[in-house]
């Protein structure tokens, strides 16, 4: 299949260059995992600062030396094995920090943000529908899990799905104005919804008002996720449960979003985003794709919210405000619009950095907002720009 980019067409999957790339991918994965472990372990702010500097220098050097391109090619050719490397890296980190509640919580939170980011990525990155009420849809999922875990006997795994479905349904309330408007107008609909939702959560009596609600634990086959894991000599924090679950859900969602992109669906969505009028002239059903993408996005965001609620055990309106929606959009912009891997990098920066550098904790909104301003001015495609569509990665190039 002649669909691997021109650059990789020259390097067939069995060529020595790609083998080298694969090795580099392995080494890179190991280095990255090691770096992440060191970073998460770091206590003193000097060490954190040094590691940040190292990361920046390392990234610049790697991109100058072409290593990043090589890894990109390797990803194209051996995507499955490299997914395995990434998952293994996360598992290694989880093992290292198995008894450290806080670090496991952080890693899981990064993945929850990434999951929500995947939803926004479909809406904004593919369809061009900007959703400025992402945190509200997380809220729908989280509140669903709170009500259903405390007041029903529905199995929690099903509650995750229900959280997503409800979030998608709430999104359907917005679908008519979103479909009938474009650009700024659609954006204001979602902003109005974000503010509406936030004030509703604060003033209502049923859902706990400003104090919020407790959320029941996840449980699977009778195993409550609020129990620490003990397995022979192996002991791990209860957050390990949530980490593994989130990793599994995230992997599924990632594969789903990837397949959406690498299909006629993704192509149609791109066409809608880039030029609605021209798309209509070529027979593309604008409404169909907008409904599908908006709903799919809200579903993923809702699932993320349901997991988040169960993991935190307690939720309040303050978690789902407009500024949190802005943070979610920042993640998508920072990482690189339309590139799911960018979400990983950006979520990690947004979640972990303020926790590690307490001195910036207070300044974090200012810092991220300024960072996004700079990205929009000087690198509008984000830190990891989206590459060309590669419908069937890893397929051999046809004659």
């Amino acid at each position: 299949m002649d669909n691997v980019s021109q650059a990789s067409a020259a390097r067939r999957p069995d060529s020595p260059q790609v083998i080298t790339s694969l090795v580099m991918g392995l080494v890179g994965g190991a280095l990255l995992t090691g770096f992440a472990a060191w970073f998460l372990k770091a206590e003193s702010e000097y060490v954190v600062g040094f590691l940040l500097l190292l990361a920046v220098v390392g990234a610049v050097a790697a991109s100058r030396l072409g290593a990043l391109d090589r890894i990109g090619v390797a990803f194209g050719a051996y995507e499955k094995s490299l997914y395995a490397i990434v998952i293994a890296g996360v598992l290694v980190l989880a093992w290292i920090f198995r008894q450290d509640h806080f670090t496991l919580l952080m890693i899981t939170t990064v993945m929850v943000y990434m999951l929500a980011g995947l939803g926004l990525n479909v809406q904004f990155g593919y369809l061009g529908l900007i959703n400025l009420s992402g945190a509200s849809f997380i809220g729908v999922g989280a509140y669903t899990s709170a009500v259903l875990t405390m007041h029903s006997a529905i199995p929690p795994l099903l509650i995750l799905l229900i959280g997503g479905v409800l979030s998608a349904l709430v999104g359907c309330l917005l679908i008519l104005p979103v479909l009938r408007t474009r650009g700024h107008y659609a954006a204001v609909v979602t902003i109005a919804f974000a503010i509406l939702f936030e004030s509703f959560l604060k003033v209502n009596d049923i859902l706990g008002g400003p104090q919020g609600l407790p959320v029941g634990a996840m449980s699977l086959f009778g195993w409550s996720f609020n129990n620490p894991i003990t397995f022979g000599g192996f002991q791990a924090s209860f957050y390990m449960n949530y980490l593994l679950l989130t990793l599994a859900v995230l992997a599924l969602a990632f594969a789903l979003v990837r397949r959406v992109e690498r299909s006629w669906i993704g192509l149609s969505m791109d066409a809608v985003r880039l030029d609605e009028t021209a798309a209509a002239c070529y027979g593309i059903g604008i409404r169909r794709w907008k409904v599908l993408g908006f709903t799919l996005g809200n579903f993923l965001i809702g699932v993320a919210g349901a997991i988040y609620g169960m993991m935190l055990g307690f939720i309040a309106p303050a978690n789902f405000g407009f500024s949190d929606s802005l943070i979610l959009v920042s993640i998508v912009l920072l990482g690189g619009i339309g590139n799911p891997w960018g979400l990983a990098l950006a979520s990690a920066i947004v979640v972990i950095l303020p926790e590690k550098l307490q001195m910036i904790q207070e300044y974090r909104f200012l810092l991220f907002a300024s960072l996004v301003v700079l990205v929009l001015l000087f690198r509008p495609d984000g830190l990891l720009p989206r590459g060309m569509r590669n419908y069937l990665p890893g397929r051999k190039v046809a004659p």
Binding site: I130, T277, L326, F365, L366, V372, L376
Partner: protein, 306 residues
């Protein structure tokens, strides 16, 4: 409900409507010349109220206790500095993004709003606490019929009306206004007619932001309190008002502002639910309006070149 309470609601609604209208006019002006949404506009307003507050504190610190001098100082400082801020925003953040997708401008100004908000919170002395804005206007009331009308409210409403009339005159009766309208109509033609596009954009941003600064001081005087995060909601409401009125029409924006205040008042007074739901009610109506009339009540002429 007795007449006194009703009149209070009416005055309150009018006052809010006036502020929303002033904010919405800014959105409309910016959208007119550049086709962009300047989303930090609400926070620009907030900066205006803080600049005004600082000026008043400065005047008091110098030992002058005439309230009108303090007010004049506040107005002059806020209008000039915030007008300048508007120009800086246009020059550094909005104009450079002209060739990118229009949503990028919305996003960059959204983030810029956060930068302004957080900067005031972090760097203004005790910025995270609400500040008491000194009452500079006479607080007596005039009794008309069965109810009292506060003098300061009347003065603020008249002042707001004057600003709106002034904007109307600038846009419709001056060469500058003509240039602004020409750019809004068709930028390329305006440029071939010798209009300095950049200059017109910058001046429009100065005017819009200065009006927001005025609204910020009005806000402070009316509520006697200013807060670092008051701009976000005002901005969103002003934006919604501008859109419901039909972006690009100044009169639509003013109409939208009063309409939104009316919705909030109705939501607080006349609806069967708790008055705390007034924002929920108002924004629900806005979303419904967008579904019904997607380009606003006064339709924007959509003429995409194909």
């Amino acid at each position: 409900m007795d007449a006194a309470l009703l009149s209070q609601y009416v005055v309150n609604g009018l006052m809010q409507g006036m502020m929303y209208a002033l904010v919405a006019v800014g959105f409309t002006l910016f959208f007119g010349v550049l086709n962009v949404i300047q989303f930090s506009h609400g926070d620009v307003l907030m900066v205006g109220s803080f600049v005004g507050y600082s000026a008043i504190m400065g005047v008091i610190a110098v030992g002058i206790d005439n309230p009108y001098i303090a007010l004049a100082a506040a107005l002059i400082a806020a209008v000039t500095l915030v007008g300048l801020l508007g120009a800086v925003i246009a020059r550094l953040f909005v104009l450079p993004l002209r060739s990118s997708p229009p949503l990028n401008t919305l996003l960059i100004t959204l983030m810029l709003g956060t930068v302004l908000r957080e900067s005031v919170r972090l760097f203004f002395p005790h910025g995270s606490h609400p500040k008491r804005f000194p009452p500079l206007l006479p607080t007596d009331s005039i009794a008309i019929g069965g109810f009292d009308l506060r003098v300061d409210s009347v003065m603020l409403l008249i002042a707001g009306l004057l600003v709106i009339v002034a904007i109307h005159l600038v846009i419709n009766r001056t060469r500058l206004g003509l240039a602004i309208r020409a750019v809004a109509q068709d930028e390329e033609t305006a440029m071939t007619m010798g209009i300095n596009f950049r200059f017109v954009v910058l001046v429009t941003f100065v005017i819009g932001s200065a009006v927001a600064a005025f609204a910020g001081i009005m806000n402070g005087l009316y509520y006697n309190e200013i807060n670092f995060n008051s701009g976000l909601l005002l901005g969103v409401i002003g934006f919604a008002a501008a859109i419901v009125g039909g972006l690009g029409s100044i009169y639509g924006a003013i109409l939208g502002g009063f309409l939104f205040a009316a919705l909030q008042t109705v939501g607080a007074v006349a609806m069967p639910f708790d008055s705390a739901y007034k924002d929920v009610f108002a924004f629900t109506v806005v979303i419904a309006l967008m579904a019904w009339r997607p380009t606003g009540l006064i339709a924007e002429r959509v003429s995409e070149r194909v």
